[in-house]
Amino acid sequence: MEIVVCVKPVPEAETRLRVAADARSFDAEGVKFVLAGYDESAVEQALLLKEATPGSHVHVVAAGPSPRTEEVLRASIALGCDAATFVEMPNAPAPDPIATARALAGAIRALPHDLVLCGKQAGDDEGGLVAAALGELLGLPDFGYVVDLRWDAAAARLRFQRSAEAGQELWESPLPCVVGLQQAWNDPRTAKLPAILKSRKAPIAKVAPPADATGHPTSHAEKFELPPPRMGAKLIEFKTPPEAAEKLVKLLREEAKVFP
């Protein structure tokens, strides 16, 4: 099986976010970029499928600015990916994920790909768009929020579960297809030190974004805001407990926007 995994560099989880000088995005100065958590699961799944299906290869692809994008490609190689392709993109603040998808598709079209794996969304923009856009660009079906992915060689079908609102959906699909994986349901392996040292010298193929990556409707980041610091609780006035409950749920829903 020829497996392509798409990965992305994101700020590490402990980053203290600051607004950039132009207020359009976060300040990347001094920020440490790492392989996105969802992508770790995607790489792990690719490696597990490779190990279960003899004769398989895993090719990791990423589109983004240098050097952080090459770093996550090297991290993926250290985990066990066989080859890597880097699509260099300009260092734009908060880039449009569809443009990223077009860049990835350009590289993937040139590679054998039975299965394209992505992390469902990244910890920064959390768009969750890339897997679906890739599917459309490559003319393949895509599935998001997937857990428990297995290849049934006898039936020549990919079997997996999707976590959807209605519950857990069990699916089967022929290849090729695109899968967006849920995070951390498998247990991503840790790269060993010798592999990390070796990955520093691994070759990374570099390609330019395809010509058709530009000239499409896109979006631009205009403002990046951090929430204001805590001022102390807004105390809810009420006469009866049900009134307090109702007011709170309304605030959580409409003001705080955290109601499930």
Partner: protein, 328 residues
């Protein structure tokens, strides 16, 4: 034809899902007057829900009746949506922020050649441009994006908008043909759907919502109030050190300096005074609600919302209200 808005319908139990109704509400708010709002449904399930659009003031619905679309991968449905959007001459496609909606927008961005955004909490048309606001970095920040080009596909954030008032009108259904659906887009098969397991809650460390109980719950026999509120919210359960020390709950439930540090979207502290050891374990939560009978409890300094009252009355009322608000 004036470019309008196409709202993509999702069906739940034979009716349009609340997420779709929320999208309808947004469409009505953002459509310049005179711009048409049309609906889209697919599959046999979709056809029977088309009437719901008319109930909420959308009289023209595109219907891709093909029963293959009932359990098809989103790529197949996107084919039909793009065709409908083209037929309608729409400038904006809106869909609820569900797993389907987000995927659909990704496919439409390419198929329909549109700008795209998901998790949108605000949608504003101004200065001839459409701007969206969305949360990023796990809710730790917000960005505003300007959507470029003549077409835009947007998936909203779930539960960020209210269901609009009904505005019944007559229904016209226009068929969308799907004969040319590529076979590989409908070959995948949904074998089974298992209803979600409501028994076990999410794990404390990565739950989106946490409800924690403290010493204010007088004894272990009262902790069920916390469990029930957590179950209603789909939340994980936590506890203060006083509770775990007293043995009401195992040590693994402890949130705090020497327990677990959590940063969920929503943290509800029930009967917790807010000693620093607890605070440091949850202060980075996006939204903190405190329920305590003592108005001077330090927890109210870090909370966003507070209810000063008797938790034995407030919490059951809150559980009931949450259940009511979340019912489909």
């Amino acid at each position: 034809m004036t470019p309008g808005i196409l709202v993509v319908g999702e069906v739940q139990n034979g009716r349009l899902a609340p997420a779709t109704l929320e999208a309808l509400g947004v469409a009505r708010a953002v459509a310049p007057s005179g711009d048409p709002i049309v609906g889209f449904v697919s599959g046999a399930a979709g056809k029977s829900a088309a009437a719901d659009f008319a109930r909420f003031g959308v009289g023209h619905v595109y219907c891709a009746e093909d029963p293959r679309l009932d359990a098809a991968p989103v790529g197949a449905i996107a084919h039909a949506v793009a065709a409908a959007a083209g037929a309608a001459g729409a400038a904006l496609v809106l869909v609820g922020g569900t797993t389907f909606g987000r995927d659909l927008v990704g496919r439409l961005a390419i198929r329909w050649d549109a700008s795209a955004a998901t998790g949108v909490t605000e949608l504003v048309r101004a200065d001839g441009a459409l701007r969206v606001r969305r949360s990023v970095f796990g809710g730790r920040a917000h960005e505003t994006r300007r959507m470029e080009g003549p077409r835009c596909a947007v998936a909203l954030r779930p539960h960020a908008f209210s269901v609009p008032a009904e505005a019944p009108m007559a229904l016209t259904v226009e068929s969308i043909a799907t004969a040319d659906l590529p076979s590989n887009l409908i070959a995948p098969r949904r074998v089974e759907v298992r209803a979600p397991d409501r028994g076990a809650g999410p794990s404390l460390s990565d739950a989106a919502i946490v409800v924690s109980g403290g010493r204010g719950l007088r004894g272990p026999e009262d902790f069920h109030l916390v469990d029930e509120l957590a179950a209603a919210l789909g939340a994980a359960v936590g506890a203060s050190r006083a509770v775990t020390d007293a043995g009401w709950r195992p040590a693994s439930f402890q949130v705090g300096q020497t327990g677990k540090a959590v940063s969920p979207q929503l943290y509800v502290a029930v009967g917790i005074s807010g000693a620093i050891q607890h605070i440091v374990g949850m202060v980075s939560s996006r939204c903190i609600v405190a329920i305590n009978s003592d108005a001077s409890a330090p927890i109210f300094k870090v909370a966003d919302y507070g209810i000063v009252g008797d938790l034995f009355e407030i919490v059951p009322a809150l559980t009931a209200e949450v259940r009511r608000a979340r019912a489909p």
